[in-house]
């Protein structure tokens, strides 16, 4: 429990550092000669397309999210529309994806019974994040639906409510006792441990879930934009020998595109896995 708490306390610091680093990357772009259009944080707040100024405002990123949702529906509708006992190729692929959550996350951590109970939420989290992450590397969409705080925050709140609900439903006394007064420590230690546990369990967890996902996607997007904008700048603005440098930045851009695919899957997995871990800790009899 201590280890988890420490990791959680560390995580936001790292992510803040990452954000600061990413923002520092932007700075030369803002001060240079105006010809180079580097990435900026405003990219995550594009102009409204519909219902401007209302709670239903739709901008480019919201549209990207809708596209991700539609893609998700298509994949899973086609994949499960006509399921066979002996699966075809596409069905196998869809089943494999669903098995990642069902077997590797839900059943492994929560056991068969609880795993089945929380499977819809975990599956939704995993695939919603995965599809919205992947829009970051898909041409013409080029931005992750999760790179704006809404989705990470909503999902983190869902995770938060879910694990508290799971703990309270199972046994309120045990849940709060295990969360705040871990067994196996002499009582004076509780003076230090209990506030740490309180903050780590009930404050830090949703924040780290939100920030880890969002910052990963923001930084990923900024990095890609930086590489491709630099390529554009070196090849077309400076040209000549600078083209070679441009080829280098292009190569890096492509490499990081692949890396972003990995990050997209990994972040989706981590989010769902951590949610399952929190639920598991909440329903555990004793630590």
């Amino acid at each position: 429990m201590f280890v988890v708490a420490r990791a959680e306390l560390h995580a936001p610091k790292q992510e803040k550092a990452l954000l600061a680093h990413a923002l520092n990357l932007l700075v030369p772009t803002a001060t240079e000669d105006g010809e180079f259009h580097g990435p900026s944080i405003d990219e995550f707040f594009p102009g409204a397309l519909l219902f401007e100024g209302t709670a239903f405002e739709i901008n480019r990123i919201m549209l990207v999210r809708f596209v991700a949702v539609i893609a998700l529906f298509l994949v899973f509708w086609l994949g499960t529309r006509n399921m066979r006992v002996v699966p075809g190729r596409f069905q196998s692929l869809v089943e494999m994806g669903l098995d990642v959550v069902r077997v590797n996350i839900a059943d492994d951590l929560l056991g068969k019974k609880d795993g089945k109970r929380f499977l819809p939420i975990l599956t939704t989290m995993f695939f919603m994040i995965l599809f919205m992450n992947l829009t970051g590397v898909i041409p013409f969409l080029n931005i992750a639906g999760t790179s704006v705080i809404g989705v990470p925050l909503v999902l983190a709140i869902v995770a938060y409510i879910t694990f508290i609900y799971a703990g309270v439903k199972k046994s309120p006394k045990n849940f709060f006792k295990n969360s705040l007064f871990p067994s196996g420590v002499p009582w004076p230690v509780y003076i230090i441990v209990t506030p740490i546990e309180l903050i780590s369990t009930f404050v830090i967890r949703p924040i780290t879930l939100t920030l880890r996902l969002m910052m990963n996607m923001i930084v990923g997007h900024l990095l890609l934009v930086l590489f491709f904008a630099a390529t554009q700048f070196f090849v077309f603005q400076l040209s000549g020998w600078w083209t070679i440098v441009g080829a280098g930045t292009l190569a890096f851009g492509l490499a990081f595109t692949l890396f972003e695919v990995l990050v997209a899957v990994l972040q989706a997995y981590v989010f769902a896995l951590l949610t399952a871990v929190y639920i598991q800790l909440a329903v555990a009899e004793e630590h």
Partner: protein, 187 residues
């Protein structure tokens, strides 16, 4: 440096902090979440569960079928073995019967042969006896005739009368036997 960026952003008109959520952002995120949740909860996962159940059932069915086949094969083997054992017993029994029959036949043949031999012997003896008797009778009559002829010749008296002749011969023979007896007794 961060300030520079933020001030540059401010110059654009609005200040955007990536960690302050906009209302529309939260709203559309929630809408997406709820839609996907319902989709997975009510459509995808039940179907997958059904499929997994069907698959498990199919596997169990196949196992049951295999068990059934195994059972049948075992039963057939047992039956075959039983039949084989039966056949063996039957063969043994037949062999035994044959042996006994053979023995019996041999014994019967032996008996028959013995009886036949005895019968042949007996008939042979009977024949011999009969011939002896015949010989005896004919001998006696011939010897009588001869003796009478001889005697009649000697005494000049015809003894051709049968009754007389027989009486004479018998008396003669009786005398002979008596004399023999006395001779024997003297001795």
């Amino acid at each position: 440096m961060l300030h520079a960026v933020l001030s540059a952003a401010t110059e654009g008109g609005e200040t955007h902090s990536p960690v302050i959520p906009e209302l529309y952002d939260i709203l559309w995120s929630s809408v997406c979440f709820v839609i996907i949740l319902v989709f997975f909860w009510k459509y995808v996962l039940p179907r997958v569960q059904k499929l997994l159940d069907e698959r498990a059932e199919a596997i169990e069915g196949n196992i049951a079928k295999a068990d059934e086949a195994q059972r049948k094969a075992e039963a057939a083997l047992e039956e075959y073995t039983a039949q084989l054992a039966d056949a063996r017993t039957e063969a043994g029994r037949i062999r035994e019967t044959a042996r006994e029959d053979g023995k019996k036949i041999v014994a019967e043949a032996k008996d028959t042969a013995t009886v036949e031999a005895a019968r042949v012997t007996a008939s042979a003896q009977a024949q011999i006896e009969a011939e002896r008797q015949t010989a005896l009778v004919s001998l006696r009559s011939e010897v009588g005739t001869l003796a009478i002829d001889l005697a009649s010749g000697v005494i000049g008296e015809s003894l051709s009368d049968d009754a007389k002749a027989t009486a004479v011969v018998d008396r003669f023979l009786a005398d002979l036997e008596a004399s023999e007896a006395t001779a024997g007794g003297k001795k």
